[in-house]
């Protein structure tokens, strides 16, 4: 390390412009990377500051941690699959079977990226909650004594909310990829008698694969990190890693436990971030 520094020093002297990177890099190091390192350190210290490795092993084998890990991964995979299917269907129609106003609708869906994620969960309470519109309608129509629709306070409620929130992240790269597909190729294939399904499979999908992989890995990352949706649904049985960290740190003041779980969560997220960067790099983005 010291060797590298001495080797680099002359280069800095020749080009002082290189030092301009120091202020923003130092700011990020102090406010982001330094706290990150402290989380890793705190994971091995108990709340009095004494080394405690046994606690790490206990937490990693505990039921609450394993349940949260399984919940996080399975919700994330299911929501990403849903986003890919819904995003593909919407993008295909927007790009290849456009209707008057489809451009406006595409932009409208795009603005969902800027809205807070918990908005959707709150709306779902009114739509599908036990006293929501759907249940009230079904109970009135069929004179049922109890609300028949009861998926909201389970993993399915989280998954449906995440599909709504994260489909725009699939739609955006897909529409960009579809705008590059040669329309003449599709016309030619359809004049030659290829049916729409075959054109989608053999002409359009190959062009969409990189966008699907990049968008899908971004969705995996964002759904693993999602907090607002899970917090607002507030179901006892649906605890994910970010929610567990919040509960341990803020509600129980168990900082070592929170840090141990945070290390696992951050490692998982950084792995998915690497996957996304790899996929986006191959896309040329």
């Amino acid at each position: 390390m010291s060797e590298a520094v001495t080797l680099r020093a002359p280069a800095f002297r020749r080009e002082p412009g290189k030092l301009w990177i120091v202020p923003p890099a130092a700011l990020l190091a102090l406010l982001f990377f330094y706290p990150l390192v402290l989380i890793a350190r705190q994971a091995f210290l108990d709340d009095r500051g004494v080394a405690n490795v046994a606690e790490v092993i206990r937490v990693l084998h505990s039921r609450f941690f394993l349940n949260a890990l399984i919940n996080t991964v399975s919700i994330s995979v299911a929501a990403t699959a849903g986003c890919l299917v819904v995003g593909l269907v919407l993008a295909l129609i927007l790009a290849f079977v456009p209707f008057p106003g489809s451009g406006f609708i595409a932009r409208l869906i795009d603005t969902f990226i800027a809205l807070p994620t918990f908005l959707v969960t709150l709306a779902f309470t009114f739509l599908y909650g036990s006293a929501g519109m759907l249940n009230a309608g079904l109970m009135e129509t069929f004179s049922l004594p109890l609300p028949p629709v009861d998926f909201l306070y389970s993993a399915w409620g989280v998954i449906l909310a995440e599909v709504t929130v994260y489909t725009p992240f699939i739609l955006r790269p897909l529409l960009a990829a579809f705008s590059l597909v040669d329309r003449g190729q599709i016309e030619a294939a359809s004049v030659l008698g290829a049916r729409p399904f075959r054109i989608v499979r053999q002409v359009i999908l190959p062009a969409a694969i990189p966008a699907l992989i990049a968008g899908g890995s971004l969705c995996l990352l964002l759904t693993v990190n999602e907090f607002g949706i899970v917090l607002f649904i507030g179901a006892k049985g649906v605890i994910t890693l970010p929610l567990l960290i919040y509960g341990k740190a803020i509600q129980e003041s168990a900082y070592q436990v929170a840090c141990i779980i945070a290390v696992v969560n951050i490692a998982l997220s950084l792995g998915l971030f690497g996957l996304y960067r790899f996929a986006a790099g191959r896309l040329g983005a």
Partner: protein, 265 residues
């Protein structure tokens, strides 16, 4: 055109309308409706009222809107300066270092917001860096979370910039500082405004890191929406959510108009 038959197209459009209606339109419409609902026992509200709005505005909403706007503005401004600075000075680095540092500046967007908040609590709860319990720690959390997005937006703008203008300015004898202020930054302006708007919107909706670090006197809109709905006051929560949505959209549309007028497109 992929589907030639009229009936086939109609079927696809109905499918589109169904997905769009259920997933995107219904949630927005129902938030609006419930924020105006008087009482809601059946399929539709029994009556409409603006009572929830007057309630939240006379209650916590005023302070929450102020906390969110101030936090969003300061965090976005700092992120804009630091992200632009980083993107510009990264161009002066060698290839390998540029790739590595570029990756490091993106990493905050990959780390879960709750963990960013936890890290700040662990790092800044003891002297000499005692920030826990202050407003500054909320700003820092928002700055860290949005910094990658401003950096990414400005970098993308820089990559699309034609190098000709800067080279012409240099060959005409413009010094680096003059060139930066009078050539590069004006050319970047649309990307800077877009970056600022996006990070402001992200900050307005931020929840995960804020619930970890906020002090009692600085409750942002998302946090107060959560405490309202958690208490079972979901209609007031819906009214406050509508205020948040409208504030965000007005901000984004306003910035878009400024950009369009400035670039003349």
């Amino acid at each position: 055109m992929l589907v030639w038959s009229r009936s086939g197209r109609l079927v696809l459009w109905v499918l589109f309308a169904l997905i769009f209606g259920v997933l995107f339109l219904a949630p927005l419409a129902v938030i609006l409706l419930s924020s105006l609902a008087d009482q809601w026992n059946g399929v539709l509200p029994n009556g409409l009222t603006t009572e929830h709005y007057t309630d939240v505005i006379s209650g916590a909403a005023g302070r929450a809107v102020k906390a969110s706007l101030v936090t969003g503005f300061l965090a976005s401004a700092l992120a804009l300066v630091s992200g632009t600075w980083a993107a510009l000075s990264l161009r002066l680095q060698g290839h390998a270092l540029r790739r590595l540092l570029g990756l490091l500046f993106f990493i905050p967007s990959a780390v879960p917001s709750v963990s960013v908040g936890l890290g700040l609590l662990v790092a800044f709860s003891h002297p000499p860096l005692l920030l826990n319990g202050t407003i500054a720690i909320v700003m820092i959390a928002h700055f860290v979370l949005i910094s990658a997005f401003t950096f990414g937006n400005v970098s993308a703008g820089l990559a699309r910039l034609s190098p000709d203008f800067e080279q012409v300015a240099s060959s005409l004898g413009a010094r680096p500082a003059y060139r930066l202020w009078h050539v590069t930054l004006p050319l970047l302006a649309p990307y800077l405004v877009a970056a600022f708007g996006l990070s402001f919107a992200l900050s307005m909706g931020e929840l995960g890191a804020t619930v970890m670090v906020y002090p009692p006197g600085w409750v942002t809109l998302p946090v107060s929406i959560f405490s309202l709905t958690d208490r079972g006051d979901i209609f007031a929560g819906a009214a406050l959510t509508m205020i948040l949505v409208v504030a965000t959209l007005v901000l984004l549309l306003g910035l878009e108009r400024i950009t369009k007028r400035a670039t003349g497109s």
